[in-house]
Symmetry: C2
Subunit: 361 residues, 2 copies
DNA sequence: GTTGATCTGAGGTACGTACCTCAGCTATCA
DNA sequence: TGATAGCTGAGGTACGTACCTCAGATCAAC
């Protein structure tokens, strides 16, 4: 049997109350006594029983994800993962919800943030385009005692500690490297498409992309970023314009998390099989594109990891714990046809019915 | 507050005892009553409090990883992850150990397996080359009540349910695709190196590799597999022979998890920068090779995931639970210079001192 | 040596579930 | 009608930690 606090008290020659004070960093214990207890902890190899601690605390954590309202496949993925995580962690006293926010208007987002009360949630994971208003509102929220982490995009270097997502500079560099190698020395232009360049993540990806491309692949020239603004007609128009004006396009980099519109537009304009195409995020659309050869590689961040990592980070904040940041690093995944897992992403078809309990025989 | 069993009892109009019987699938409850309780569960949204349940059960899980004795960097990685996982899960009543076993001799491995008693461990994660003796010993062990999962390699299709690791056929295919694309239409031969072709994983990788290469890249011919048997001198000899006999080698695929010897041998024989090289597993050696350009891509499986997934699987077996297999799928990661995380793998330098508790101020 | 502040011990309750016993209840069948 | 088996309720203890109160001990400074 593992030693308990009682054993620890005996080993340290103090009472249970003192052990408790030391373990929970409560005041009113002499340094010498603290040391004695710590020594005993090492000696008998005491490890706090988390189950018991959680039970005793009967602590509840209520976290809320704020995601843009747009009907994006990637956002849908995230929502599904939030739902799953909620189910999985409900048994551990967590309640994880999500709320839609404006996809663009910083004022509206800031308003939404400021409306959040300390007594309804303990933490927020926010996915929103960069803006001073949002940043300030987030800071205000923190001051109220609601912890905030920034998901995927993140605000102007508040602190890296609050960010959950991939290194977008590196992701852009990865895209450039793949295009550079796949294109095989061909001379030509590279089309770059994004939903908007107002987002911090797009800007960073672009910088990383350009850096590698100009340094290592003089045969390739990156064209100015096209912005779809999530509008299908517009996407088609600007992309077809671009393709018609630059017949020497040999590759395309779709930077935004919603690759559907750009991919559809490209597909209508040219034979994507002959074009080297790199897109972001694994969704049903990019998965199909990967399988058909329409896309050569997908650069992805695991949506489940994003959600779980956010939750762990928020929870650590609530407990005033530090966290192993290196273990929470979100990987930049490179996906091609061959390393797509059969189940990956196809999970969307799950019905969300009765997963909560396991009495289904 | 979340509803408790007491609330559930009230809602279902039964006693706590009956609720308990239903929740824990104990006999002696009429079907009708069971249904009533289940209905109440749905209605009030009852979710078992895991902390309380674990505490009440005061269940301990003792799992042991059996890893080959060789001093491999990849194995060292795994050991470190086991150590970490043990620390992280100790608070949840898990005790995760590891034991070295013969790296080759099936008889010795089988003997080791058969020596394991039910009262010392609840489950085993076994990494061993395929052989009938080992397979039988594993089955015997299961009959004794010790759960067994097969790590990375796996035995002849016992059951996919017992396997933790990547799809090696797909991994080989991935390697072939990368080489095919990176080589840019060049005509030539591809060298294939492994530690041994007796391992199931190597065979499967080879098959996946050949399949894609012969189908999609007629410009490339894969050479017969070279086996280093973990011997440095031998590795150098066979590889230099191969290189001297086939001057038109344009690429190399290092299949085994220990890439050190083959990479060193290749480096001594030829300029690896001009060769397209794909290796397996992220270790200090492959990481350096990736950064220097000696290796073009690394195909990896996350060692931490391997360990944690094994533990989850074993635990599910102990609890007689089914598990979401799709969530336990180990991803085939493609790593290039650009998407290497700064922290990734460099963790080896950690001292393993006082991570067990968090009183370090 | 007294006062006050600081530290420590003893003992309690609470968290939500698991698992036990035993008494009593309800159908079923002889 | 009574015996039997199957079902249900009442009540208890246990798990290990958190957090509370209050009394008593210790130590410093005066």
């Amino acid at each position: 049997m593992r030693p308990t606090t009682k054993d620890l008290a005996k080993a340290a020659g103090v009472s249970l109350a003192t052990v408790d004070r030391v373990l929970n960093k409560r005041p009113g214990v002499r340094k010498k006594t603290v040391e004695a207890v710590k020594k005993a902890i090492e000696e008998i190899g005491f490890v706090r029983n988390l189950s018991a601690a959680n039970l005793a605390k009967s602590r509840q954590y209520r976290f809320r994800f704020l995601l843009p309202r747009r009907g994006d496949l990637f956002i849908a993925e995230l929502r599904d993962r939030i739902f799953e995580t909620n189910i999985g962690l409900a048994a551990e006293g967590m309640e994880i919800t999500h709320q839609e926010i404006s996809q663009v208007d910083p004022h509206l987002i800031a308003q939404t943030l400021l409306k959040i009360r300390r007594d309804e949630v303990d933490g927020i994971a926010l996915m929103a385009p960069e803006s001073p208003q949002v940043r300030d509102a987030a800071i205000r929220l923190q001051e109220k005692g609601v912890h905030v982490v920034h998901l995927i995009s993140g605000q102007q270097k508040l602190s890296d500690m609050d960010f959950v997502g991939i290194d977008n500079h590196a992701a852009g560099a990865t895209a450039a490297r793949l295009i550079g190698r796949f294109v095989c020395g061909l001379q030509g232009k590279v089309m770059v498409v994004s939903e908007t360049m107002n987002a911090r993540d797009s800007l960073e990806r672009r910088r990383g992309f350009d850096q590698v491309l100009t340094r290592d692949y003089p045969n390739l020239t990156a064209l100015p970023s096209l912005e779809t603004h999530g509008d299908e007609a517009r996407a088609y128009e600007i992309i077809s314009n671009m393709i018609n004006n630059s017949p020497d396009i040999v590759a395309a980099y779709v930077m935004s998390s919603e690759a559907r519109l750009p991919l559809n537009a490209v597909a209508r304009q040219t034979d994507p099989q002959t074009l080297t195409v790199i897109a972001h995020e694994l969704t049903d659309r990019t998965r199909k594109a990967l399988v058909s050869g329409e896309v050569d590689a997908v650069i992805a961040q695991d949506s489940g990891h994003l959600v779980r990592s956010s939750v762990r980070l928020l929870r650590a904040r609530c407990d005033k714990r530090e966290i192993m940041r290196s273990q929470e690093q979100i990987r930049i995944e490179i996906l091609i046809q061959e390393n797509l897992l059969p189940a990956q992403c196809a999970l969307r078809s799950n019905d969300h019915g009765s997963v909560a309990n396991s009495f289904d025989d």
